[in-house]
C-alpha cells in the first residue's frame, strides 16, 4: 500500500534537550495512525517537523513519496492540521472562518463554496454559519476548529491532541468525525496522551517517550508484546505490607501495587485469577469495597516497557 508519511532518523534538539532522538516511522494510506506518549514525549515536535513548521537537526521527512521541506507548498496543500488549541478568528463568522482557511488551499470560488458547505454539513455547524465563534459553546467551537482544518478535503489530516479539555460528548463527536473522515479516504495522524481514545480509533499505534519509539503495532499486537494478561483491581481502605507480600505469592501474579486506596494485581497468564484473589482476601479478612478484573491497556504496555505510567 502507498506510503503517505515516512520519517527517517529525525533528530531535533532544543539546546541540551533532545526532543527527537533518531525517530523513525511510516504511515500507509488509509490508516489512522496513533502517536501516543506522555506530555513532553515529542509528539507535537514530530508533527511540527513533518509540516516543516520546525527545522530539525538531522533526518528526512517524506510525504506522499516526496521529500518535504519548508518550500513544498504543493505538499502542504494536501495536508490538514487540527491542533489542540482552537485557531479561528473571533472577528469572522463561522462561515467566513471556514471559507478563509479553505481559501488558503483552494483558489476557485465555486469549489470553495461547495467545500465550505460540505464542511459545515460534516461538522453539523449549518445552523451556526452566521454566528461569531465567541458565541459558540466549547463543543461547537471545537467542531469549527476541525471544519477549518478539513474543509479543503486533505488527503492527510493531522489531529494534534484535539480532545484536550473537551467534554465527553464533544470528545465522542470528534472521534466519530475522525472515523468518518478516514472512511471517506483520508489518512489520519492522531496524537494524544489519552490511551483509550487511541485504542478506540487507531488502526496502528506508535508509543513514544523522550523522543524515541517505545513500540508500535495494532493495539492487540502491542498488548501481545507484554507478559501482562489480566489485572485484578480492588478498592481497599487499608492493607498490611504482609498481605501485599502474600498476594504476590498467588500463582501467575508478577506485580502488586497499592496506591491511593487502589490495589492493582497484575497477572501473566492463568485462569480464574479473580477467584484466587477473592480466596486470599477472605482468608486474611481484608475489607474491600469493590473488585473487578480488566484486560491490560496500552498504559500497561507503556508501564511494562518504560517502568512508568503513561499519565505521569
Amino acid at each position: 500500500m502507498e506510503e503517505i508519511v515516512r520519517v527517517n532518523n529525525l533528530v531535533k534538539r532544543y539546546k541540551d534537550l533532545i526532543a527527537l532522538d533518531n525517530f523513525s516511522f511510516s504511515i500507509k494510506k488509509g490508516e489512522i495512525f496513533g502517536l501516543l506518549g506522555p506530555n513532553g514525549s515529542g509528539k507535537s515536535t514530530t508533527i511540527n517537523c513533518i509540516l516543516s513548521l520546525l527545522t530539525y537537526d538531522k533526518g528526512e521527512v517524506y510525504l506522499f513519496g516526496e521529500k518535504m521541506n519548508v518550500n513544498r507548498n504543493d505538499i502542504k496543500k494536501r495536508i490538514g492540521l487540527i491542533g489542540q488549541n482552537v485557531a479561528v478568528f473571533n472577528e469572522l463568522s463561522v462561515y467566513e472562518n471556514i471559507d478563509f482557511f479553505c481559501g488558503l488551499y483552494i483558489n476557485d470560488k465555486a469549489t470553495r463554496r461547495k467545500y465550505v458547505e460540505d464542511a459545515l454539513e460534516f461538522t453539523g455547524l449549518n445552523d451556526y454559519r452566521k454566528k461569531s465563534p465567541k458565541k459558540l459553546s466549547g463543543g461547537l467551537i471545537r467542531r469549527l476548529n476541525i471544519a477549518c482544518g478539513i474543509a479543503h478535503k486533505p488527503e492527510l489530516i493531522i489531529f494534534d491532541e484535539p480532545t484536550v479539555a473537551v467534554d465527553p460528548q464533544s470528545r465522542n463527536n470528534i472521534l466519530e468525525g475522525i472515523k468518518d473522515l478516514n472512511k471517506n479516504g483520508a489518512t489520519v495522524i492522531y496524537t494524544s496522551h489519552y490511551m483509550e481514545e487511541v485504542e478506540e480509533i487507531c488502526s496502528r499505534i506508535l508509543i513514544m517517550d523522550k523522543g524515541h519509539e517505545i513500540c508500535q503495532g495494532t493495539a492487540d499486537e502491542l498488548k501481545g508484546q507484554i507478559k501482562n494478561t489480566e489485572n485484578v483491581i480492588l478498592n481497599v481502605k487499608y492493607i498490611d505490607e504482609s498481605d501485599l507480600e502474600g498476594l504476590k505469592k498467588i500463582h501467575h501474579v508478577y506485580s502488586v501495587k497499592y496506591a491511593d486506596k487502589v490495589l492493582t494485581i497484575r497477572f501473566s497468564g492463568g485462569k480464574h485469577n479473580i477467584s484466587h484473589v477473592l480466596d486470599y482476601i477472605s482468608e486474611h479478612s481484608i475489607n474491600y469495597e469493590r473488585i473487578y478484573s480488566e484486560l491490560p491497556t496500552l498504559n500497561d504496555v507503556f508501564l511494562e516497557i518504560t517502568g512508568k505510567e503513561l499519565r505521569d
Binding site: 485557531a87 469572522l92 488558503l104
Partner: protein
C-alpha cells in the same frame, strides 16, 4: 485577495471605534469653526445705536450723517433733554449727537462750532463715537486742503476710515487660515488613533501563535502573505488619509483647496500617515495585544504623542523638556511642518520636517522587526 479581504473584515469589526475618532476630529473642526465665527461676529457687532439730531442743512452735515449711519445704527430724531437722559440711562442709545445750525459754515471757515455728543460718561465707549466724528471731520478737512472737493474727500474717507469693510476683510481672511491650520494641526490625533485601532487588532489576530501556525502549515508563502498585508495596510492608510484630509480641506473652504499651501499640508499628512502605519507595525511586531490592550496602547500612544508633539498644545507653549522628548515623536515634526507651511517658510525647512517624520517611522519599524527576529530566534 483572501488575506486582503480578511484584513478588512477584521478592520470592519473595529469600525465603530475608528468612526469615533473621525467624529472627534469633526467635532473639533465644528467647535473651532463656530468659535471663530462667533468672535468675528462679535467684532462686527461693534455698531452702536445712536441718535443724530441734524439742525444744520449743509452738505458736510449731511455727509457726516451718512458716514455715521454706515458705522452705527443711526436714528434721526429730535428729543428733549429728559428723553435723551432716559434713553442713555437705559442704554437704549449710546450717544445723542447734535449737529448745530451753522456747523457747515463753521467747518468751511475752520470755526469752533462742532457737533455736540451726549453720552454716559461712566461708559468710555461713548467717547469713541465722538472720536470717530472728529477723525472723520479732520480727514475730510485734510483731503480738502489737498485740493479735493467735498465729495471726493468723503469718498476717500470712506475708503480709509470705514472700519467695517476694512476690519471685516482682514479678520475674515485670518479666520479661514486659522481654522484650516488648527484643524490640520489636530488631525494627527485622529489619524494615529484610527490607524492603531485598525491595524493592531488585525496583526494581533494573525500573529496569534496557533493561527499563525495553521496559516504557515497551509503553504501560503510568507512573502505573499506580507505583500497582501502591506497592500491592505497601505489601502487602509490611504482611506484614512482621504477621510481626514477631506475634513481639514472642507473646513478650510474652497479657497485653500489645490493651493500650494494645501498640497504641502496634504503631503505633511501623507508623511504622518506613513509614519503612523510603520509605528502600528512596530507595535504589532513587539506586542501581541488583545482588544483591551489595543485600546490602552491607542490611548497612551495617541494622547501621549499628541500632547508631546504639539497637536493639542501649540509648540511655543511646551516646556523645554517636553520639547526634547517631543522631538522623538512624528507629531512634533508634523506640527512644526504645519506651522512652517502656514507661515510661508521656505521649502527646505518644510521638507526637512517631512523627512524627519519618515525617518522616525522607518526607525520604529526597524526596531519592531529586530525585536520580532530576536524573539523568533529565541
Amino acid at each position: 485577495m483572501l488575506l486582503y479581504k480578511a484584513f478588512f473584515k477584521i478592520v470592519k469589526k473595529n469600525l465603530p471605534m475608528i468612526l469615533m475618532y473621525v467624529s472627534i476630529i469633526l467635532m473639533i473642526t465644528l467647535i473651532s469653526k463656530v468659535s471663530l465665527e462667533k468672535s468675528a461676529e462679535e467684532r462686527r457687532a461693534l455698531k452702536y445705536d445712536i441718535i443724530v439730531e441734524n439742525k444744520d442743512d449743509s452738505e458736510i452735515s449731511k455727509e457726516l450723517c451718512t458716514y455715521l449711519s454706515k458705522i452705527h445704527n443711526v436714528t434721526d430724531k429730535k428729543l428733549t433733554r429728559d428723553q435723551i437722559k432716559e434713553k442713555i440711562f437705559y442704554e437704549e442709545i449710546l450717544s445723542y449727537i447734535v449737529i448745530p445750525k451753522g456747523f457747515g459754515d463753521s467747518f468751511e471757515t475752520d470755526g469752533d462750532l462742532k457737533p455736540e455728543s451726549l453720552y454716559d460718561e461712566n461708559m468710555p465707549v461713548g467717547m469713541s463715537v465722538n472720536m470717530q466724528i472728529n477723525t472723520w471731520l479732520n480727514s475730510v478737512k485734510n483731503y480738502q486742503k489737498l485740493g479735493l472737493s467735498l465729495k471726493e474727500s468723503v469718498e476717500k474717507c470712506d475708503e480709509t476710515l470705514n472700519p467695517d469693510s476694512y476690519v471685516h476683510l482682514e479678520t475674515s481672511k485670518k479666520n479661514e487660515k486659522s481654522l484650516t491650520e488648527s484643524v490640520f494641526n489636530y488631525l494627527p490625533y485622529g489619524i494615529l488613533s484610527a490607524i492603531l485601532l485598525s491595524i493592531l487588532p488585525v496583526f494581533s489576530s494573525f500573529n496569534e501563535e496557533k493561527k499563525n501556525q495553521r496559516i504557515l502549515a497551509a503553504g501560503l508563502p510568507a512573502t505573499k502573505r506580507n505583500l497582501y498585508f502591506a497592500l491592505a495596510s497601505i489601502s487602509l492608510a490611504m482611506i484614512l488619509l482621504i477621510v481626514f484630509d477631506a475634513i481639514g480641506s472642507i473646513a478650510g473652504g474652497p479657497e485653500i483647496m489645490f493651493t500650494k499651501t494645501w498640497w504641502f499640508v496634504i503631503l505633511n499628512t501623507l508623511c504622518y500617515v506613513i509614519c503612523a502605519s510603520l509605528l502600528a507595525l512596530m507595535i504589532s511586531n513587539i506586542f501581541n495585544l488583545n482588544n483591551t490592550g489595543v485600546s490602552i496602547v491607542t490611548n497612551i500612544v495617541g494622547l501621549g504623542f499628541s500632547f508631546l508633539g504639539g497637536t493639542f498644545v501649540p509648540l511655543e507653549y511646551l516646556g523645554d523638556e517636553a520639547k526634547i522628548i517631543g522631538k522623538f515623536t512624528p507629531n512634533y515634526w508634523y506640527s512644526t511642518a504645519n506651522d512652517y507651511i502656514f507661515q510661508g517658510k521656505n521649502m527646505s525647512n518644510i521638507l526637512l520636517c517631512f523627512g524627519l517624520q519618515l525617518i522616525i517611522g522607518v526607525a520604529l519599524f526597524c526596531v519592531g522587526l529586530t525585536v520580532a527576529k530576536v524573539r523568533k530566534k529565541a
